[in-house]
Symmetry: C2
């Protein structure tokens, strides 16, 4: 690209998979990307656009000539077009819908009528279905006659009743290995599940993962077949949900990429740092209540961050396990009490072990047995509280319908900081002064 | 289960999916689980065993009568048996291998000969392949004739040359919708990729996710077809890898479940807390160098945790983004410099904003403009360092072949604590005393 040599770019790019081209586009610097799109826009087809993440996709669509954009969009399945246009500004969305064939446009607009992040947005409308009374031979003949209308990838034939309600599905492997006269209804798989079009995509991904589904028919409110979701779409959703959880646990919300502008990233990280500032100031207010004690025994100022830091870490461990268990539905009402007791037990045991370690260090470092006792007792209290807060805060947030991955960290850290400083400094006042 | 009524259990359990039965087994308390297995062992079939996580699976296998175990294992595909036995103790492994048919036993033992977490362990050996010169009709006739030997689920027919090297694959949908006399070689998909049996499963999962594969043939060192990996297995690996990353970032290594015994969980969380203790003590050593300053201005003790805490949080944000970008291969040599500069920019801007905020708070709270300057400058320094450490530490660990998710947190926190306390207290000594 640096040499501005279209032929060389052509030779380099053409053998690459669209996903790799998209990655390359994401990794090059802004001027290189602009030059690439200006000199060689036709290297960007619909599949490459699908692979780009949100912000960059908008940018690239804005830079592409209309003719290239039209070619790119026409090749895509309806679910990919929906994925492409749903996050775009209205005028860009309109521009893309305009170039679609009328029937495709209707399909995309219907999908867009379902709520964001619902199964209806995720599904593709191209679904291969057959009446429930058909035989293997009839199904094969039908597919041969309509091969142009079949989706690029499909794995099951959905059987429907006369009112278009799905009654089951048959794998292609089973159809192909069975004699032509066999009725399809005898080959039904027992893994069959239908997905309501309004179901949230996270629930869809959970079902695919839990029940090892490969594809599942989607139905509307009346139970009629409207589309199909395949495992690759579900896998993407699951991957995105996990990614979101990881970032949210670290206080990074909706960061889409390493390529966002510095100012956007700064803005996205700011709120969590601000929340952290509030919690840190709360902890400082606790410390300021004990200024007199600290000015008498400066060792307290040296040791107090240790108690708070250990509590914060133990709390983060518990809350991360809890947030994951909630996400995978392993933590439910039925085992909540046992899990809470378990976390309390873990906090208590680790608290006791570190109490001994820190008690000894306190005595050796500052030569004061009583200071050792203070830090030891404070350590037990804070690690026990950390374990309890780590499990209870996410559970309570989940009940309040707040995403526990997003908000738990701030609350748990506040609890462990405040309890840690208060227990340590308060005990010091009682036992040392 | 509480009422010890097998008929009632039967009625409750039978309609459930094996994955849900496994979840139920995981969520009930130990005595209930033991009673369930004693009263009604036949509710546990091979699919349920496959769904149980490691430790509990060993426990359940130990409690099941041999006859139930034998029935359970015989139903499974070879990849599921491998997954079932690979983590078992030698004697339990032997017991299960003994009940397999000789040909299955050979298949499982061959799979076990591949390294742990390799494609060879993940693949199933039941693969549907055809010579490259066959036509659609020949393939269908072959599958009808050998329907008993076909795997439960398959989506592609792999074409091989006479030396059993895969040359491409054809989707079942394409075969079914094409006239019988068409040669298969004309229907090849261009998404075709082969996977070496020794490739690490994380790389396999990356390839499936990046290239939207549904299944991919596995080849041995000589390039010969030895098995096939399907997307559901790859999805499991990806999900596990994400889960591991999330837990490791929080300092929780290899925690498999909420059901582990308290003592096991305590042991697993202990090492990270111990590492954290070391880093906290390092920070305390820095503070102890400034005891004289703190005893003169106690406000320093009150404010110093704020600087350290903000640095720790900003560092965690950067490192989490960096660890994820490394995992998804979005952070490479080619964009490293730009990403580092970007993180430095983000740290600098947020540092400046919070410097102003904290400077004002410092002045208002303690009435000392110079104290405001000290905390403001320390904040800028620490947030800048946090951004740089957050990106450089994971990158360096990755180069050293240490899992960045596991170790980055400790290093980054140490850096931000030490720099935070040193900058704040050091500046205070220079400017205030």
């Amino acid at each position: 690209v640096a040499a501005r040599d279209p032929a060389a770019i052509d030779a380099l790019i053409t053998p690459l998979h669209p996903a790799d081209i998209a990655d390359l586009l994401e990794q090059v610097s802004d001027p290189v990307r602009a030059a690439w799109l200006r000199l060689w826009p036709s290297s960007i087809d619909g599949d490459v656009l699908s692979e780009l993440y949100g912000d960059l996709r908008e940018e690239v669509i804005g830079l592409l000539p209309d003719s290239v954009l039209q070619d790119a969009v026409r090749d895509l399945d309806s679910d990919d077009v929906v994925d492409l246009v749903e996050d775009l500004e209205d005028d860009q969305q309109e521009a893309i819908l305009d170039v679609l064939a009328p029937s495709d446009r209707v399909a995309v607009e219907q999908a867009l009528s379902f709520p964001e992040e619902s199964a209806g947005r995720l599904m593709q409308r191209e679904v291969v279905a057959a009446p429930e009374h058909w035989t293997v031979g009839e199904a094969i003949d039908y597919m041969r006659a309509h091969k142009r209308e079949l989706p690029e990838q499909f794995y099951h034939l959905v059987l429907t009743d006369p009112r278009m309600k799905p009654v089951g599905y048959v794998t292609l492997g089973r159809i192909m290995s069975t004699a032509r006269k066999t009725p399809l209804i005898e080959l039904l798989e027992d893994s069959f599940r239908v997905i309501p079009a309004t179901q949230h995509e996270d629930e869809v991904a959970y079902a695919f993962n839990q029940y090892h589904l490969i594809s599942a028919p989607v139905v509307d409110d009346d139970g009629r077949l409207v589309g199909v979701i395949t495992i690759d779409d579900a896998m993407n959703v699951l991957d995105d949900a996990n990614e979101e959880d990881i970032l949210r646990l670290a206080g990074v919300d909706e960061e889409s990429s390493l390529n966002d502008r510095v100012i956007d990233t700064t803005k996205r990280r700011f709120p969590w740092l601000f929340v952290n500032l509030i919690t840190a100031i709360l902890a400082s207010l606790v410390i300021s209540q004990f200024e007199a004690a600290i000015s008498q025994i400066v060792a307290l100022a040296v040791l107090m961050p240790i108690v708070a830091s250990m509590g914060g870490n133990a709390g983060t461990q518990s809350l991360t396990v809890a947030v994951r268990a909630l996400a995978t539905k392993d933590l439910t009402r039925s085992n909540l009490l046992r899990v809470v007791l378990r976390e309390a037990g873990v906090g208590l045991i680790n608290g006791l072990v570190f109490a001994v370690v820190m008690g000894v260090i306190g005595v050796l470092w500052f030569g004061s047995p009583m200071l050792g006792v203070v830090i030891a007792v404070a350590m037990v209290i804070n690690l026990l509280v950390a374990g309890l807060a780590g499990i209870l805060v996410p559970v309570i947030l989940e009940r309040l319908r707040v995403d526990p991955a997003l908000a738990s960290g701030a609350f748990v850290t506040t609890v462990t900081d405040v309890v840690g400083f208060f227990a340590f400094l308060g005990l010091a006042v009682v036992l040392l002064l």
